[in-house]
């Protein structure tokens, strides 16, 4: 297939299926057209077709002219959260039937006597065992024969399972037993879809790996059928181009690979958001960026260094308990590393036993919504505080489509917070907003520290409906001097899809100490990983050069947490023990202050990411700010840093010409959101449409 991508004049469609809306963005050359349509759960492809026709009509082109479609979806995530997957069985090693149920044998909340652990994806009767055992060096301890497997497969076939996951102990080191199980399944039960843990997630730690292969098997039939239907529908509409899928690691894979490894599609929407922010970072030449995406129920924060979102090897989906770490299921695949906390416009507040204001993660959702929606909500949400503090205009919310009732907000704030704490409604709103902003700031601080970063020289890029209302204050709290609010922030993920490269990351767990450093083995291993990863990318793009990024995960022997060490191609292909050691000590010292003398160092995981080169990004012209933007008077706006109401200048975003500026305190309004400029900041409209907030000079 011919690569017709990312050239300045191609016609490309980005589609993001979210929980509520399906966002569609069409780019024709430099022009961009977008729309939001309601997600159609029963047949999600319908919303895509609908949205596609809308943007094609706006652009005055026919669907046949679309050169490429990039698609990301929350369908895989939702199927896991809502347990709407296929009838799935697991085949695992005898003696380890309950790995996915026993989890870490701990309670993720120590102080709840009534804690309920989430059920595993497959109840116990759907988990079957076979003998055979590998040891920790990948050597066979106990054989596995066809005769051992056949009766198990026959039971699974008789029970009518559609999809089978295979997860055996130490299979990441030796997949011989897993492939034998697949062979027997193929012979006796060819109709079953099969997922092997050694292919889906070849990493050590059985709980994470088994859970990942089960999740893959569980959503595979659903995603395969959806992707097939989507292809058919698009063909019916005259679309002849290739369709690619956004994966959780921030790149694009072919529709065939996506159907085989659907678990890689989990979190593709947020990954698109991070790619969107990374692209803006590139436009401005920013090497240290914090992306901040805040919607109705959650806020997501991601570090973007050198215009590349930070990635990780494991994450958790479907948290069941107040977004608490450990309450979901771990999925070990390459993923853009984000923190997600239960803080959004709909997050509800209450006062706890210590007379502390608590906000979220419980959300008012859209029904009944915050108290100000006047739909029966009587508990104060973040949006209510924003309204009482003057950040929102009650008559122009969501382009004037919903009239907000400030009286209802004040009443809810007073009843739930003010009466308990002896505060008026405005002070209660101040307290609520400060607590939610502090929660988000804390999440960002912890994330930065875990990555050895100091946020004070970072720039924030904010998108999502609620982010621009809170980003200015967050910057004050974090000591971040510059904030960019890009245009099109409401469909940021779908735009991000169009900026993403073709990429695939291959990982392997293989232990090696530096004392036992084996350069030949390393070369072979990394070359194997490179050819695996490159194969996936070549599948999407026959011509483009493919870059390889090498990462090894290292630690002192005896530690349990590895840190990722990036190697250059030369360092990876001519491995030198002194270089590996120096790179590790350098990064370890940066993270934790000092190295530990006299310890052996070991490598646990090897990874190669193959990717097409990043799109050439034209540097944005930057305006310094000169003329004042036309204002529409002022309204009282609370400034939390001052702890008092000020007169906020009201400006409309579409009236700000390039280079125009407004000094805080100010309110910049647009249909989708409102940007709050704190007293400490001045906002300049950049030529590319970004609103650029900086500390007053």
């Amino acid at each position: 297939m011919k690569a017709a991508r990312m050239t300045e004049h191609s016609t490309r469609l980005g589609v993001d299926i979210g929980g509520t809306f399906t966002d569609v963005v069409l780019e024709v050359g430099a022009a961009s057209y977008s729309t939001k349509v309601l997600t159609t759960y029963a047949a999600p492809e319908n919303a895509i077709i609908d949205g596609m026709h809308q943007v094609c009509a706006k652009a005055e082109i026919s669907p046949a002219q679309i050169g490429q479609i990039i698609h990301g979806t929350t369908l895989a995530t939702n199927a896991l959260i809502e347990r709407r997957g296929a009838k799935t069985a697991l085949i695992t090693t005898e003696g380890f039937r309950d790995v996915i149920e026993m989890r870490t044998e701990s309670r993720f909340e120590q102080y709840d006597l009534n804690l309920v652990l989430p059920d595993p994806l497959l109840p116990r009767q759907m988990r079957y065992t076979v003998p055979g055992r590998m040891d920790a060096s990948g050597t066979e301890l106990q054989p596995l024969s066809r005769a051992d497997i056949e009766p198990v497969v026959d039971q699974i076939k008789a029970a009518g399972y559609e999809s089978v996951a295979v997860g055996l102990i130490h299979s990441y080191l030796n997949d011989a037993h897993e492939t034998l199980v697949r062979d027997v399944l193929a012979e006796r039960m060819p109709e079953a879809m099969v997922s092997l843990s050694s292919e889906v997630s070849p990493q050590m730690r059985e709980y994470e790996r088994f859970n990942t292969v089960v999740a893959n098997a569980y959503i595979k039939p659903l995603m395969k059928s959806y992707l097939g239907r989507l292809e058919g529908r698009l063909q019916d509409e005259g679309v002849g181009c290739n369709i690619f899928l956004m994966h959780s690691g921030g790149g694009i894979i072919s529709i065939e690979n996506a159907a085989d490894f659907p678990v890689r599609l989990v979190e593709s929407g947020p990954a698109g958001g991070a790619v969107f922010a990374a692209n803006i970072a590139a436009r401005y030449g920013l090497d240290k960026v914090l992306s901040f995406d805040m919607g109705g129920t959650t806020a997501k924060i991601c570090l973007i260094k050198d215009q590349t979102p930070k990635t990780s090897r494991v994450f958790e989906v479907a948290r069941t308990y107040r977004f608490k770490k450990g309450s979901g299921m771990p999925i070990s695949i390459p993923v853009i590393d984000m923190v997600e906390i239960g803080a959004g416009g709909g997050s509800l507040a209450h006062v706890d036993a210590m007379r502390q204001i608590r906000v979220g993660p419980e959300s008012a959702g859209s029904e009944p919504g915050p108290a100000c929606y006047g739909r029966g909500g009587d508990r104060p949400a973040v949006t209510d505080a924003d309204l009482v503090l003057g950040k929102l205009d009650p008559d122009n919310f969501a382009g004037g489509s919903i009239a907000l009732d400030a009286g209802a907000s004040a009443a809810a704030l007073s009843t739930v917070l003010g009466d308990v704490l002896d505060m008026d409604a405005a002070t209660s709103a101040f307290g609520l907003a400060e607590v939610v902003d502090e929660n988000m700031a804390n999440a960002a601080r912890v994330h930065a520290v875990e990555n050895g970063e100091d946020l004070s020289d970072y720039t924030m890029i904010a998108f999502g409906g609620a982010a621009p209302l809170h980003a200015g204050r967050l910057c004050e709290k974090l000591g971040v001097d510059r904030l960019l609010v890009p245009p099109g922030a409401g469909v940021g993920s779908a735009i991000g899809f169009l900026r993403a490269p073709f990429s695939f990351e291959a990982n392997r767990s293989v232990y090696m100490t530096l004392a036992g450093f084996d350069a030949g083995k390393i070369k072979t291993l990394l070359a194997d990983l490179k050819s695996e990863a490159t194969g996936f990318v070549r599948n999407c793009d026959a011509d483009s050069p493919i870059l390889s990024e090498y990462k090894v995960y290292m630690r002192y022997s005896g530690q349990g947490w590895e840190i990722p060490i990036t190697l250059t191609e030369a360092q990876a292909m001519s491995p030198d023990v002194a270089v590996f050691e120096a790179r590790f000590i350098e990064d370890y010292t940066k993270l934790f202050g000092r190295p530990v003398a006299g310890m052996d160092i070991e490598i646990t995981v090897w990874s190669v990411n193959a990717t097409t080169p990043p799109e050439a990004v034209a540097r944005a012209d930057e305006a310094a700010g000169s003329d004042a933007a036309p204002d529409h008077g002022t309204r009282p706006l609370f400034d939390p840093a001052l702890g008092a109401f000020t007169d906020g200048t009201i400006v409309q975003r579409h009236e700000m010409a390039p280079g125009m500026q407004v000094a805080g305190p100010a309110i910049i309004t647009e249909d989708e959101t409102t940007i709050i400029v704190p007293t400490s900041r001045v906002a300049v409209r950049q030529p590319d449409g970004c609103i650029d907030l900086r500390v007053k000079g």
Partner: protein
Amino acid sequence: MTHSNVAYQVMWNRLISVVEEQAQALVRTAFSTSVREAGDLSAGVYDVAGQMLAQAVTGTPGHVNAMADAVAHFIRRIGPENIAEGDVYITNDPWEGTGHLHDITMVTPSFHGGALVGFFACTAHIVDIGGRGFGADAASVYEEGLYIPIMKFADRGVVDETLTRIIRGNVREPDQLIGDIYALATCNEIGHRRLIEMMQEFDLSDLTGIADFILENSRRATIQRIAALPQKSADGEITMDGFDRPITLKVNVSVKGDRIVSDFTGSSGLDKKGINCPLVYAKAYACYALKVAIAPEIPNNAASLAPFEIAAPENSIVNALHPAPVALRHIVGHFVPDAVFNAFDQIVPGIVPAEGAACLCNFQVSLRPRTDAPAPVDARRSEVLTFNSGGSGARPDFDGLNATAFPSGVMTMPVEATEHAGPVIIWRKELRPGSGGAGKQRGGLGQYMEVGAREGHEFDIQAMFDRVDHPAKGRRGGGAGAPTTIAQDDGTPMRGKGKQFVAHGRRVMMAFPGGAGYGAAKDRPAHLVKRDLARGYITPEAAAQDYGLSAADIAAVAQAVRNGEDVT
């Protein structure tokens, strides 16, 4: 400068985030599996008087109260006049730290603008401290390993090299331990940096204002909860296996207006072996039991812990004095909540669970090349520690948790990681059907484990199990959980505690205990009985005998399983 209520709310939030960060740094840099995989650690921030203001919620309630008291001991021992910027203090004193020599506690004074503003402290369970090794076999604390009195690890930034040489010379894994000590110092340092940033942001010169705000609100909230309880007292007790002879814990829990006193008068005296418990550790678990029952969401600090008082006769099993052996004090400590619950259930019925597995089902294996025949050249020595859990007790409205730690909150280690740590093979680690006590709410299931060594190795297993002879008892008509069993694969019997030899080629077969049931089994809804049967949590015999499920229903469940149907 005075601050608004809103500013103090923000600062309190921040301090809790600071100590969580401090704990996270420790997990990421520690060497011992007990810290890095299992989360057996704690971290906190204190005011200049040594009052704890905030503590990270980690895997170890046992450290909670113990560490809260520790900083005051450090201030007293070091002497306020000797506290200088750049200092780091250390101890593993069981009585002034957290209960046994295997916990290292480190304290770092925090200076801002040249003045002492507070302290950071952290504690971690390390794998070896010399002596006889981690186990119950010592007759006094002198045999349990190296004792480090409260002293300076670093004096104005200069590490005491004499001390580190003494430590290195006395332990089995010196690199690991020194690595852990540095990790502890690093985590305090990270906490200190975040604290100073906060003080600069809010223009604070000391912590007095925020400390008063935190302590006053916590005290009021805790006392409100206690005042709302029936002002009564009740007795509870529990009997456990002990080492050679059973141990009984007796407790009188008494609600007295603004405090609750747990008095352990009448409990067993000291044991000859190292399962005795210093008072700090028993107090930590008594306090945890009461807090989780009546004030779970109030964060741990000096004021929220103070109303929970403890009394116990000197040299009883829960108030062991120096030089009693205390290495496995966690076993008695983990039984304290069940004893307290047995009393508290008579004061406020319907809150606390039935008895569970109580103590963690831990064991350590010491592997070595076989001695009965020539060993292969690559055979090696290795120490491997694992943490495992039985079932928790059924709750008034919920079943017990299968193979989940309670009251401890530590995690298990992945089998694949354990097998990389040494030449050990875990042949089996899965749920133990039928082990949960029957009841309207069923007890949590225990688990099976089978352990052997790689070809060419033999080993000693250090067993740390209880509930062999004293399974968990049910509440309100619930049935008992299954007891612990342990034997070799050829039938050779083994003991629940102590170091025991396992010859080349043999395996140890263990079944860890289940939690007890709550309420009568006949009242359990039929759909839950069918669900449990389909999942194999209970046997068809138990479904019929304990729960009265009909033969037809049992056959229908079996058919559903054959058809691959879920039964809910």
